[in-house]
Symmetry: C2
Subunit: 337 residues, 2 copies
């Protein structure tokens, strides 16, 4: 039988890719070989396909553009890097409405402006399917690169915000009848919202993810006030593929285990209302929240969560190769689709 | 009527893109806003679609990979830049044979190794059509950036090698019967070839384009031996969209005209044999030769063509907005499809 992409699967494909790729550890963004005296250059790239990664049903062109930018910027933030610029290539069927691609550029540009960076180039080609490919470059001081493989036993695990809301937004966009479950006013961000405003605000979590450069800025501020540690004390990644995936990947790369403080794992009331008894599943496996999952010493973490509204310590790094007593693969796959 | 990509056309699309893009002049690669004291960072990106930019009929997977790398590296060379690294994202239908994508990575990697750079990241996604998106980053000393808009009246125009051979190779791949036209042995590179060897060698021009970093190295060597000129004396671009297009684009961006020395414009015998009375058309409009078209003072050009085998002075930059007496638009569109 001829091996195909389908028969090999994503992990198999990744293995082939890695044979040819110089970046050894799979961090959110790839370090580039080029050397500047004190800065590490990083690059990250994502390809988005109509019908796979976005759909007219759930995503306006402006939101497609915003997301395409935010997903890549989040990868830079997850390395502790600041953006230098982005390029976006676009493949379009000839019958694509101009209003659609203009909307995409508008949303993309809005996100870039929000985070102080810019579109520096691109390519526009004919394709049978609407395709966006975005690459972002950035730089990070060499002593402050956040990586996945440096979590240490004794570190605590911090998430920069709630999980499950992006999934909640997606479900609301797909199933209008779910609105009926949102019966009471709820606190979203720092506003109490109800009815259509509440629905919109939850959908926004899916449509307009936020790269957490603000969290990185607070982290750097705290670290700069401390004595210089010999090793950079923070490891981690973003939670684009879900909170459980982020924890599992950090543990696997760092050869450590983790213990989660289930009782202090916050679940938003909207997630409880919409997901019912699957609320924890949405939090752990919903994905696309684009928060940062960071490991650091408790003393640092306490300062960090004090200064970053919404950040929570959710567990700790322990010896071994298990997450909370579960063997890692099964912990990871337990609820996975 | 709703405006579509088809109704707006490529130029219209480009205009929309430029509203959102910070790179003002359309050089081969985009300068990034980020500042290093003495170096300009540049980035370039290309998207390649099955059936539009490559085809199993004319291109092996290894050649698809090589070309995807070479096209982007050529853009860096055209700016005078050295590569820092590349990322490649891949969209694949589930029934894609693994051998195909492995071949692509192999060819890509081979090209990168040849020019001393590396793949640093990428993305792999599901798509209904095989899609490659490559981004290359590089850097160039700020005083040595080659741009399109700085050609000066009195400069001569140099091309680093022959044109039309890529088109000749493509035609041979598409129409096997054309082989019959190659009746006599011919000099290709520095070898005299005949029969199937000759056919292969010509097809190679289409399948394995060469980014001309060697030409840039010679240029820098000559310039470093001279007194420091106040302005960098070289402008230009690569001829990916054809020799005529390169000349027209340089003239338009620099607000100058050009005079071509038709009698000294070399046409390879294979192009004459295969194209017949359309030989000049193939040379001017065939495209995808990925040579550099550079404008510089005669004294520099003489040293340059002496040291770079195959390089030829083909014309000069003149006052005005015409190429050889033709109004530029018609000069450009004369043979265009």
């Amino acid at each position: 039988m001829t091996a195909t992409v389908k028969s090999l699967g994503e992990q198999g494909l990744l293995k082939i890719f890695r044979q040819y790729c110089s970046a050894v550890v799979g961090d959110d963004a790839a370090p580039m070989g080029a050397t500047l005296p004190d800065r590490q250059m990083v690059a990250t790239t994502d390809m988005l396909i109509d019908g796979v990664h976005f759909s007219d049903r759930t995503t306006s062109p402006e939101d497609v553009g915003w997301r395409a930018a935010a997903v890549n910027l989040s990868d830079l933030a997850a390395m502790g890097a600041k953006p230098w610029g982005l390029v976006m290539s676009v493949g379009l069927p000839p019958d694509t409405e101009i209003a659609w691609i203009e909307g995409v550029y508008r949303g993309f540009s809005e996100c870039l402006q929000t985070y102080g960076t810019e579109l520096v180039g691109g390519d526009t080609v004919r394709s049978p399917v609407r395709t966006l490919s975005v690459t972002a470059f950035g730089q990070v001081p060499k002593t402050q690169v956040i990586q996945r493989h440096t979590a240490r036993v004794g570190d605590v695990i911090v998430m920069t915000g709630l999980h499950g809301l992006s999934k909640a937004g997606l479900e609301l966009l797909l199933k209008e009848e779910l609105k009926e479950e949102l019966l009471v006013p709820m606190l979203i961000g720092n506003q109490i919202l109800a009815g259509e405003d509440l629905v919109q605000a939850i959908c926004h979590y899916h449509q307009r993810p936020i790269p957490r450069f603000d969290a990185i800025a607070i982290l750097h501020k705290i670290l700069n006030q401390q004595n210089h540690p010999t090793d950079f004390p923070v490891s981690g990644m973003d939670s684009s593929d879900g909170l459980a995936d982020a924890i599992a990947q950090i543990c696997r790369a760092s050869k450590v285990g983790a213990k989660i403080h289930w009782r202090s794992l916050p679940i938003h009331r909207a997630v409880r209302a919409l997901a019912g008894d699957r609320a924890l599943e949405w939090v752990l496996y919903g994905g696309e929240d684009f928060e940062l999952v960071l490991c650091m010493p408790l003393s640092l973490a306490e300062k960090f969560v004090n200064q970053l509204s919404g950040a929570v310590i959710i567990g700790e790094i322990i010896d071994g190769d298990r997450i909370d007593g579960l063997e890692m693969r099964s912990a990871f796959q337990h609820f996975a689709p």
